[in-house]
């Protein structure tokens, strides 16, 4: 296999790990706040996912390119400053696509600028990996975060209102917009993810 194909195959593995098998929310317990506090409607979930992508991708790529030029102790500040800069276009894009959503999301949207997934991946992973790996990781984590928040939000919105995307009229789950419901749902989803990984390990062990 030539080097280029090998690189792309590795990038694919990194992407899948970020998206599913080592999902930053379900396996790493990162980025919990937006999911538990604001993940209770598909509109919210889509807006937060878009914010995440537009902040995470350029921040990780820039830290990958320039991170090694900075001393280790200064990288966290660089991540926060870059996240603050990229929050501006991200927020503008979200406001353009979903008018009024930032004000509705309030603190949850504002704190996406210091999301622990972006922070951890940009300050620790990106500077020590090649650009393709950092891009695959950023994309995988973005899809992984979006998948979890959309799933949790869809379940909560359906139980709360009986529909999705604001189409519901009446639901059965009063109080499910509180953070405790988010934590409980995340616990069960994390267990499901763990079970998938246990099955995979068993299958690999059988093959070997």
């Amino acid at each position: 296999m030539d080097d280029r194909r090998l690189y792309f195959r590795e990038a694919g593995t990194i992407f899948w790990n970020g998206m599913l098998f080592r999902n930053p929310v379900l396996a790493g317990a990162l980025g919990l706040y937006p999911v538990v506090a604001a993940g209770c409607g598909m509109r919210n979930a889509t807006a937060l996912s878009l914010l995440f992508l537009i902040i995470a991708l350029p921040t990780q790529l820039l830290l990958c390119l320039a991170g090694m030029l900075l001393p280790r102790w200064a990288r966290p500040a660089a991540v926060l400053l870059l996240s603050a800069v990229f929050y501006l276009p991200a927020a503008r894009a979200v406001e353009w696509l979903f008018p009024g959503s930032l004000a509705d999301l309030g603190m949850a949207a504002a704190l996406m600028a210091c999301n622990s997934i972006v922070y951890a991946r940009a300050s620790e992973y990106a500077p020590e990996h090649i650009l393709l790996a950092a891009a695959a990781d950023a994309a995988g984590c973005s899809v992984g975060f979006a998948g979890v928040i959309c799933l949790v939000s869809a379940l909560r919105e359906y139980w709360l209102t009986g529909g999705l995307w604001g189409t519901g009229v009446s639901g059965i789950g009063e109080g499910l917009d509180a953070p405790f419901a988010g934590f409980l749902l995340l616990g069960f989803l994390a267990a499901l993810m763990r079970q998938v990984n246990i099955q995979r390990e068993r299958r690999y062990a059988e093959v070997e």
Binding site: A29, L32, Y87, L88, A91, M107, A110, S116, Y119, L184
Partner: protein, 196 residues
């Protein structure tokens, strides 16, 4: 009301009914990491308290200017996050000069405390509840105490949730998340629902 009483009451509020961690769901990612090393919980919580105080003061100092900005939900988060980055840089820079061994040994905790969601949430809570300076400081102190309590509770939860009798799929993080969910439900009982 005397100033000291106001400070103590707001601090109590931050630990109980308006607890950012259990009632608001903020800062758990970092609290869970801190709970893996209970021996450093005190230092971590102390640094979270210090950065929370700085964050509260920054929020108060910038508030008159932030109120003048249009597009509040676009510009405010960017300004406050950039301020947090500069505060960390200043703290780390000072430690590098005056206490390099502290930065070498505890630099990771310092950076995690500075970028903590509960720390960056303080100016928003302050604005939401209309806290004045003393109340904001009380809330920041209470949030530091709440973080320390959360770390202690989570380190205990982690031990329980790795019990070999538990189903393998729920061992570790999934069990801890369910445990936190139940605790958070108790706080929802205090507050009557969503706080933040």
């Amino acid at each position: 009301m005397p100033a000291f009483s106001q400070l103590i009451l707001t601090a109590l509020l931050a630990v109980t009914a308006e607890n950012l961690l259990f009632a608001g769901g903020a800062g758990f990612s970092r609290a869970l990491r801190a709970a893996r090393k209970p021996s450093t919980a005190g230092l971590y919580a102390l640094l979270v308290t210090l950065f929370s105080l700085v964050s509260a003061l920054t929020g108060l100092a910038l508030e008159p200017y932030l109120s003048l900005l249009g597009e509040e939900w676009i510009l405010r988060p960017a300004v406050l996050t950039a301020a947090a980055g500069l505060e960390y840089l200043l703290a780390a820079g000072l430690l590098r000069v005056f206490a390099p061994s502290f930065l070498r040994d505890h630099g990771r905790i310092l950076e995690q405390a500075a970028a903590n969601t509960v720390v960056l949430a303080i100016p928003y809570v302050q604005q939401m509840f209309g806290f004045h300076a003393l109340q904001a400081l009380g809330y920041a102190l209470g949030t530091g105490a709440a973080f320390w309590l959360a770390v202690l509770i989570l380190s205990h939860a982690m031990k329980i949730c790795t019990n070999p009798d538990a189903p393998r799929a729920f061992s570790g993080l999934p069990g801890v998340l369910v445990y936190v969910g139940i605790l958070s439900m108790a706080f929802a009982g205090f507050t009557g629902g969503k706080v933040f």
